[in-house]
């Protein structure tokens, strides 16, 4: 029997890919292992224990920062995904119109500017607003996160829309569905994978942000990344590994759940 020849095979690609996956998970694995470290430093394994999980759990500042991150990220990601979805709808599925590519470029603008620049600009602007209005709540962080999350949500949603068959919506309209009903029953369910991808990207990006947050946070508005940035001068305690491990576990669970659900659907 001859060895099967396939155009889907490229020499070395599987090796590179598997190596890539290995390397991708090596740091994660290291992190998880050190989270269970009994010793005090991150670099050396001195037996296993749960002490850092306990320490993290008892460290009010870490828990506080974590909860704040988990407040900002979902809100910013939801808003960003919502407005990005609307904008994506407005910039696809029509013949290109004047100003369309401008709109697209505009929405993608936050990608083009180094973070530090946006950070300084927002620091100045928001400070004025804080002084004028006296409001110093989380709103500023949420607004800023929303803005830089928009392009990350916009890109996958728009990509999905671009390949979506327009006749399905026409068919719905033909079958007496008013525009909103068409959107709810046809567009939205079909767009859902794109929206979820956009949401996930936005969520991750918000969760990661440090520079902009560092500049515009008010008193008591530490997020997990800014809290860690503060630790840069000293050393990373294994508490961070513990927190991250828990977080990783939770995200794997959430994402798995999403994949299982979406698989059942189609």
């Amino acid at each position: 029997m001859a060895r099967s020849h396939s155009v889907r095979h490229q020499r070395g690609f599987t090796f590179i890919a598997l190596t890539c996956f290995f390397l991708l998970y090596l740091p994660m694995a290291t992190m998880v292992v050190f989270a269970f470290n009994a010793g005090t430093t991150v670099g050396q394994l001195d037996g296993l224990s749960l002490r850092w999980f306990r320490a993290a759990w008892e460290n009010d500042r870490i828990i506080d920062a974590l909860l704040r991150s988990l407040t900002i990220a979902p809100i910013a990601a939801v808003i960003a995904t919502a407005v990005a979805t609307m904008a994506a709808l407005a910039t696809t599925r029509t013949a290109p119109y004047r100003g369309m590519s401008l709109k697209v470029a505009f929405i993608n603008q936050p990608l083009m500017v180094p973070e530090i620049v946006t950070a300084v600009a927002l620091l100045v602007v928001f400070a004025r607003i804080k002084v004028w209005t006296g409001y110093t709540g989380l709103g500023y962080l949420i607004a800023a996160h929303t803005a830089f999350c928009v392009p990350f949500a916009f890109l996958p949603i728009r990509a999905r829309l671009e390949t979506m068959d327009l006749t399905l919506e026409r068919a719905a309209a033909d079958l007496y569905a008013r525009p909103w009903a068409t959107f709810r029953h046809i567009t939205l369910p079909l767009l859902w994978p794109g929206i979820l991808a956009g949401f996930m990207l936005a969520f991750v990006v918000s969760l990661d942000d440090v520079v902009i947050t560092e500049f515009i946070k008010s008193a008591g508005q530490e997020t997990l990344p800014t809290y860690m940035l503060g630790q840069l001068r000293r050393s990373v305690t294994p508490e961070m590994n513990a927190i991250s491990t828990v977080f990783l576990g939770v995200s794997i669970a959430v994402v798995s759940l999403f994949f299982l659900l979406s698989r059942k659907k189609t």
Binding site: T41, I129, V131, L229, Q231, L232, R233, S235, V236
Partner: protein, 321 residues
């Protein structure tokens, strides 16, 4: 009753201290971190952040005062002021302590792994002209002020000098030295203990924490001269909770409380009698208690004038390009 918002360096504030303060005065304390004097200043200057207390380094206190950002809380009239070491009362940046209270102070020196380097650690040539065994193993903290000051002193200049001849030599020295460094990082403990760095420019407290983990490391006071610095607790003019902030200033001048600060971050604190409450290992630690023969070599860092900062920046940028 009430709240207190502290704006401080990351990992610098003892949780025990805060807990004690909260329990004593029934105040809810929130800590927010900054990672550089400049960010802190920029944020405070723009305003609107609700911070009550800020902890600038000595070099920045004058700027904060001049910019009108600080409340004149008159710590010198506070109950616990009597505990302040006289050495830290008539300081140049806040003569007589009308605004600020000492938080911690320390020195910037060098640290070296004696397993690798057997020579005299008390010299800045550890990083400015590393011996062959240290080449490629030196870490330098990425603080322009500390590095430039150390280099200027090594070249025989004065702190904040604008002497072009000295600066020329400083520039040449740094340019020559940089390739021999492995990193410019806030060297975290495990980088040293783990063998990534064998020597470096470091702060005293950090050096001590490293030594506690790996006794082969020693802290050196460069004989060419080294900077002394102090971080200070001040109250912002815009503080929403100024009264609680004053309570805090007074609170940390109590030796027992000051000792809590030091035992967490491992720097000295400038409050007389606090040593008694410190852990054993700090009372005679060579990093904290400057040995007699090196005391005179220390130079307290002032804020350099803008023109000098400008010069330093250009040299710094050129070195790092």
């Amino acid at each position: 009753e009430g709240e207190l918002n502290i704006f401080n360096w990351g990992e610098y504030t003892s949780p025990e201290l805060i807990k004690k303060f909260e329990e004593t005065y029934d105040v809810k304390v929130t800590i927010t971190d900054f990672d550089s004097n400049d960010t802190a200043l920029a944020k405070a200057r723009q305003g609107g952040n609700n911070f009550d207390i800020v902890v600038p380094s000595a070099t920045f206190v004058q700027i904060w005062i001049n910019e009108g950002l600080l409340l004149e809380t008159r710590p010198d009239q506070m109950e616990n002021f009597k505990n302040v070491d006289p050495r830290w009362i008539d300081v140049e940046f806040d003569p007589g302590r009308r605004y600020t209270v000492p938080w911690q102070w320390g020195t910037t020196g060098v640290i070296v792994d004696t397993d690798i380097y057997k020579g005299d650690p008390n010299t800045s040539s550890i990083f400015l002209d590393p011996p062959p065994e240290l080449v490629g193993k030196v870490n330098v903290v990425p603080e322009m002020g500390d590095v430039m000051t150390m280099a200027v002193l090594a070249e025989g200049g004065k702190v904040c000098t604008d002497d072009m001849e000295v600066l020329k030599r400083v520039h040449a020295k740094l340019v020559a030295a940089k390739p021999k460094w492995v990193a410019m990082d806030y060297g975290s403990i495990e980088k040293y203990t783990g063998g990534d760095y064998a020597a470096g420019l470091a702060w005293s407290g950090a050096a001590m924490r490293i030594r506690l983990e790996a006794p082969r490391f020693v802290y050196g006071y460069p004989k060419e001269g080294y900077p002394i610095w102090m971080d200070n607790v001040a109250v912002l003019k815009s503080a929403p909770n100024a009264e609680n902030a004053k309570l805090f200033q007074n609170f940390i001048m109590d030796p027992e409380n000051a000792a809590l600060i030091s035992s967490y971050a491992r720097y000295a604190n400038g409050i007389k009698g606090s040593e008694a409450f410190m852990p054993e290992d700090m009372r005679d630690a060579p990093e904290i208690v400057v040995p007699e023969e090196f005391v005179a070599l220390g130079d307290f860092s002032p804020a350099c004038p803008p023109e000098v900062n400008d010069l330093y920046t250009r040299i710094w940028t050129d070195v790092l390009k």
